[in-house]
Symmetry: C2
Subunit: 328 residues, 2 copies
DNA sequence: TTGTAGGCGTTATCAA
DNA sequence: TTGATAACGCCTACAA
């Protein structure tokens, strides 16, 4: 910046003003400075700017996996809304490990973000303490809780899966199996929803685990096989998500198992593939885009002083019925 | 930090040392300081640290879309390798626009990253100038060029698609259509590979565009319909990627079109779904994980002074033949 | 409209 | 092994 100032024959402060609040600088000076900036290829140092102004313009987001379809829309909405408000998104992966989440949260807090978005409501004690102490808005997403660290924007995995299960029950399915992972917090919630709905009607439940990667198509295939082996008369399976459900549907095509004639298949998430499968996949649509957008709004409003948002924001979900279960 | 120093009865410098180079501090003092840090919940301010030490420990990565499967493995490998080396990944989306890429690059350079990873070799002139001027290692990925800004780690989209096309030609296919987008630089390269291979054997080519989102399954469906309409005797289609190819295969199932009996279908990328479709999808496997890992190695070595890497690193590709094309 | 002084929280450097 | 001092590059506050 001093180079630019010297070259342009003005003070460093004037250069700073041309960048931050150009309106305060005489047009002539402003143009001269801008030309000099351009000529020298000067890029302002945000690090120094952050320190001096005590504003990082960072919003941190910590998600299990950047690549999961279900987070994709949320990240996109979050990112574009925040970008428009002048914030940069600091994105971190946790690969579905709470310890890794804690480490990422710690590292990110060191960058002094102005707000932080995390996925889920399940965190290590230290991670929770860190977030609480940070004093910045913390938005938990993709799930609900009565006791958010600060604000939660999401839907109930448990209620959603219970609702889906009840739909199957009203269609006369009785031997319904749930196939999911064992570790993922959202998977556990989904399982509980299933168990609850089965318990309500006094049906015996069968819940299978497919190991560490319940969101792979191959997990759907092995889950399907396992279910048919343990309970040959299984008439419906609810999978952890649409990827594993898609794996199962494609496996049924190969094995000559009719869906929904022989067995009903449901997923979770309403991924792109759900509508294109044969038969189309009955699933739970998560309004990821809305969650990301709403989270961004909460942040922007909070940081600008206003705070018209409740602490618990239920975005809801939709049951999307397609042909992978029988009609009424 | 001063709070910690005061509480522990040492100087700020000692606290700093406990964090940066604990070996230099007497064990007794170190433990005291650590306990105090823990008690106060102190999180070091990386912003100030960056400024003082002139090291950001940031590596910036600018990719078209965090959610594209093809980048997922690369980002994961990059991220984990860099994390292990003590760097943080600053991840940015460009949503496939070069202008947006330029803006992101500018903003990221302001954070003074120590290296930068970008996707592709096609950038605006200003983006190139910015990257060149920055003086940091710049790794272009997912494509190849003879004239990288600094270093390129990738594979040739053109050669890969030409190779795939030639495979179809050796199987006797003659009326081969390419279905892709129009804007994406990698899509353009792929199209050129196709056109070249067709020209080599003097066959007339038909290349279709499906608009802005060639990587959606629905683009595959519309591309398939368009191809059959414009050239009813089409015997093979190469799609922009595995998502659009998957859409086409599923549409063929519905329409009663036999694959590969009536038509052969190929994709690009070897996404998870490729192996599970019926029939399995013939495609080009991109070694994304290797690209991410190699990019990270180049960065780590460069930043540690060594530089044993060439400027052009071809990771190659593999043709994965499955049943969506006829056998020899 | 522009310039000057001081400080943001940390680390490098040198001294003790 | 520890501490004091001066940066790092910018912004806030105030002065001219």
């Amino acid at each position: 910046m001093h180079d630019v100032a010297r070259e342009a024959g003005v003070s460093a402060q004037t250069v700073s003003r041309v960048i931050r609040s150009p309106g305060l600088v005489k047009e002539e000076t402003r143009n001269l400075v801008r030309a000099t900036i351009e000529r020298l290829g000067y890029v302002p140092d945000s690090t120094a700017s952050d320190l001096a102004s005590n504003r990082s313009r960072f919003v941190a987001a910590v998600i299990p996996s950047v690549s999961m379809s279900i987070y994709e829309d949320a990240v996109r909405a979050l990112s574009s809304e925040l970008l428009a408000a002048g914030y940069q998104l600091l994105l971190g992966n946790t690969e579905y490990s709470l310890d890794s989440e804690e480490a990422t949260i710690f590292a990110f807090l060191g960058r002094r973000p102005e707000a932080m978005v995390v996925v889920g409501v399940d965190h290590t004690d230290r991670a929770k303490a860190l977030m609480r102490q940070s004093g910045i808005p913390i938005i938990e997403t993709m799930d609900l809780t009565d006791t958010p660290i600060d604000t939660v924007v999401g839907y109930s995995n448990k209620v959603a899966t219970a609702t889906l299960t009840r739909l199957l029950l009203t269609r006369g399915y009785k031997r319904i199996v749930f196939v999911g992972g064992e570790e993922d917090a959202r998977g556990i919630e989904r399982r509980q929803g299933y168990l609850q709905a089965m318990a309500e009607v006094d049906l015996s439940a069968l819940s299978l685990e497919t190991g560490d990667h319940p969101s792979l198509m191959s997990a759907g295939i092995s889950g399907l096989k396992k279910a048919l082996e343990l309970q040959p008369r299984t008439d419906a399976i609810i999978f952890f998500n649409d990827a594993s459900a898609a794996g199962a549907i494609l496996e049924c095509q190969r094995a000559g198992i009719q869906v929904p004639g022989d067995i009903a298949i449901c997923g979770f998430g309403d991924f792109e593939v759900a509508a294109h499968l044969n038969p189309g996949l009955t699933t739970v649509r998560i309004l990821s885009h809305d969650i990301g957008k709403r989270a961004a709004q909460v942040i922007v409003d909070r940081l600008s002083g206003a705070d018209p948002h409740p602490k618990i924001i239920d975005i809801g979900f939709e049951i999307i019925e397609r042909c992978s279960i029988r009609e009424k």
